[in-house]
């Protein structure tokens, strides 16, 4: 080490780190190329299932310029399925809201979220608590809010922020359908 100058030593350290990070990056790229198509397929399947869950008979995507929280609109013979992306406690929640032609919610389904396990994640859980939470939106119209904000929706215990986000999503979908007529 003593024969090596300081500059050379620092360059050597940096070079070793560079090699390690490059190898890790290459390995990640390899894994990603395997898993990315699988994840994309799963997401597509989940989206399709969500449309069918909230809109009896399913629907086809229609031309729609993304606005506000609404990213996609699907139209079926019973109404619309609106894909909305409200901001949750941790990150954006992607969810599907079914709305009939009279502007009444047919159902909601969460496609993707990163809410806290055991609290916000209940919104997407197939447990009685999760089903009750999603079920209370069915039949609502106009705009919705959690009880804490003066609305009629019971929020998930310990997850008011998540519950508010779901309400935001439903409101955005209802507002969107109102403009579509």
């Amino acid at each position: 080490m003593k024969t090596e100058s300081n500059v050379m030593y620092i360059i050597r350290l940096a070079a070793i780190l560079l090699i390690i990070t490059s190898l890790v990056a290459a390995a990640l790229a390899g894994v990603n190329s395997i898993t990315a198509p699988v994840i994309a397929r799963l997401t597509a399947e989940k989206t399709q299932m969500a449309i069918e869950a909230v809109l009896p008979g399913g629907g086809e995507a229609i031309d729609f310029a993304p606005v506000d929280l609404v990213s996609k609109v699907y139209k079926g013979e019973n109404g619309y399925a609106i894909e909305v992306t409200p901001g949750g406690f941790d990150n954006t929640i992607t969810m599907m809201v079914g709305v009939d032609f009279e502007g009444k919610v047919l159902g909601i389904d969460i496609i993707k979220h990163t809410e806290t396990a055991g609290l916000g994640a209940v919104a997407d859980a197939e447990t009685p608590a999760g089903q009750n939470f999603r079920g209370q939106f069915v039949g609502t119209s106009g705009s919705v809010a959690v009880t804490k904000d003066g609305g009629a929706m019971d929020s998930i215990t310990g997850a008011t922020i998540t519950s508010r986000a779901i309400c935001d999503g439903v409101n955005a979908a209802l507002a969107c359908v109102a403009t579509l007529g």
Binding site: R12, L13, I16, L17, I20, T21, V24, A25, A27, L28, V31, N32, I34, T35, A36, V38, I39, L42, D90, N91, H113, T114, E115, T116, A117, G118, L119, A121, D124, E126, T127, P128, T157, G158
Partner: protein, 215 residues
């Protein structure tokens, strides 16, 4: 190499959760159902084994001045791989654990084993250490999970058993205390589990001393 000793250390006397108090964040956050506990435990075990092996193999290549940066890069790489694989092949678990999978990067247990063990020992020994510590972590997590789920939700096996994966109802509603599933319950239950494991260790120590004295 002494597999039995390493196993005992990982499970009890040097358990990452109850003795070393490492990885507390995930221990408190995700221990709300059996499924979460087992899933998180297995994910951390796999990551600890992989990072221990690689870091042990590279221990003579990595200069000590940049070792922490190198370890974190390697650990983050494995965590991201596990995250991608879970999303692709076990989406239910990925959805349930959410952000806590990427957060394994900062689980001190993984870095602790890299710095404290793998950077000084052989590859095989490090792999065994990762396995034993991982099992210890998983067992501690599952114990906390079972207690919190039973007292907080009144169920057993949430995410795995029962209708729709809601678990088998043991304590009927409305008797379970929801607070136990909340953060405050996590601290409470963890405290009792730490005390319990301490008591158990003292008891075992006494017993082995008595045995020696009898000889």
């Amino acid at each position: 190499m002494n597999f039995k000793k390493q196993f005992k250390e990982g499970l009890l006397t040097k358990n990452p959760v109850t003795v070393q108090l490492l990885g507390m964040c995930s221990t408190l956050a995700i221990t709300t159902s059996l499924f979460n506990g087992i899933g998180m435990g297995l994910a951390v075990t796999v990551i600890t084994i992989c990072s221990n092996v690689l870091i042990s193999a590279l221990r003579k290549v990595i200069p000590s001045q940049v070792r922490i940066a190198a370890y974190i890069t390697i650990i983050a790489g494995f965590v991201t791989m596990v995250d991608l694989f879970l999303q692709a092949y076990i989406p239910a678990l990925a959805a349930s654990l959410g952000v806590f999978i990427p957060l394994i990067v900062v689980n001190c247990m993984v870095l602790g084993r890299a710095e404290g063990f793998a950077s000084k020992r052989g590859i095989l020994e490090s792999a065994v250490d990762g396995l034993c510590q991982g099992i210890g972590y998983t067992v501690a997590l599952v114990v906390v999970c079972v207690i919190r789920e039973l007292l907080g939700n009144g169920t057993f096996g949430g995410g795995l058993l029962g209708p729709g994966g809601a678990g088998i109802q043991i304590i009927p509603q409305p008797f379970p205390a929801m607070q136990i599933v909340m953060p405050v319950g996590g601290f409470l239950v963890l405290g009792f589990v730490l005390a319990g494991s301490d008591k158990l260790m003292k008891y075992l120590e006494k017993k082995s001393k008595k045995k020696e004295a009898a000889k």
